[in-house]
Symmetry: C2
Subunit: 150 residues, 2 copies
């Protein structure tokens, strides 16, 4: 498993600020979020969220039209979640976004779910693998922050 270190809070990029607001908001829906998670080799999602019943959501954060239009990978993320959302800032041209994706309007401090997508089925084996990798990634990052000597 590839572990990406905890993203630095110093000089966050615009997308990382959106991710923070998204994570704060999803906590109110009782989802635990992990940023910059790697569900499979070559893929990295901005926010992976795990619900109290094991639901898995993915949120891709786009700070601008150019940021969105340069993303050629997002359809590869769909098999790794039950619901897929775009999170964009208030001034983003949301007409560009696929209508069957979820939509979240966010800033660095908070967010709101505007459109809830229909859930897709996920294979049990994939859910099990993702939940395990999410667990290990979160615990290893936490250990890295708490015990910097490792």
């Amino acid at each position: 498993m590839q572990i990406i270190p905890t993203p630095s809070p110093v000089d966050p990029k615009p997308g990382q600020l959106l991710a923070r607001g998204v994570s704060r908001h999803l906590l109110q829906h009782n989802f635990a979020c992990l940023e910059e998670f790697v569900p499979a080799r070559g893929l990295r999602v901005d926010v992976m969220a795990l619900g109290a019943k094991g639901e898995i959501w993915i949120v891709e954060c786009k700070s601008s039209r150019a940021d969105y239009q340069s993303d050629s990978k997002w359809e590869n993320y769909l098999p790794y979640c039950e619901r897929f959302f775009w999170a964009v800032s208030e001034d983003f041209p949301t007409d560009l976004l696929p209508e069957d994706s979820g939509l979240i309007i966010a800033d660095a401090y908070e967010a709101e779910i505007i459109r809830m997508p229909s859930p897709q089925a996920m294979a049990a084996a994939r859910r099990k693998m993702l939940t395990r990798d999410f667990a290990r990634t979160a615990a290893l990052r936490l250990q890295g922050l708490r015990d910097p000597r490792i």
Copy 2:
């Protein structure tokens, strides 16, 4: 789910120092560790470790004979793991410990597995629940450290 905040690194108790050494060592076995995890209401384990294949281990850290002898709950932890270990310091009277439990000798900085217990079977539903709760607890603690305003 009950979330215990990330244990404070300020003035750690002797058992928490052992837990740090244990967590460092288990990382070498490719286990991700979470301290003070609640597998079920009323239970709190010192170290819960999740392996790359989803293996679940529990380590109880005992800093002294009195600390061990006052623990009346440990047998309740057995159904929540495949392998159960005691972690004690070098001068602990290990003859006191049950022979079918695992044994780890630890200090605040490192540890070594002295006796590997036989694995016990775990029900798939319980493993799934524990892995999910481990994942959510770790991610929420990580978010709490990274975004203290939540």
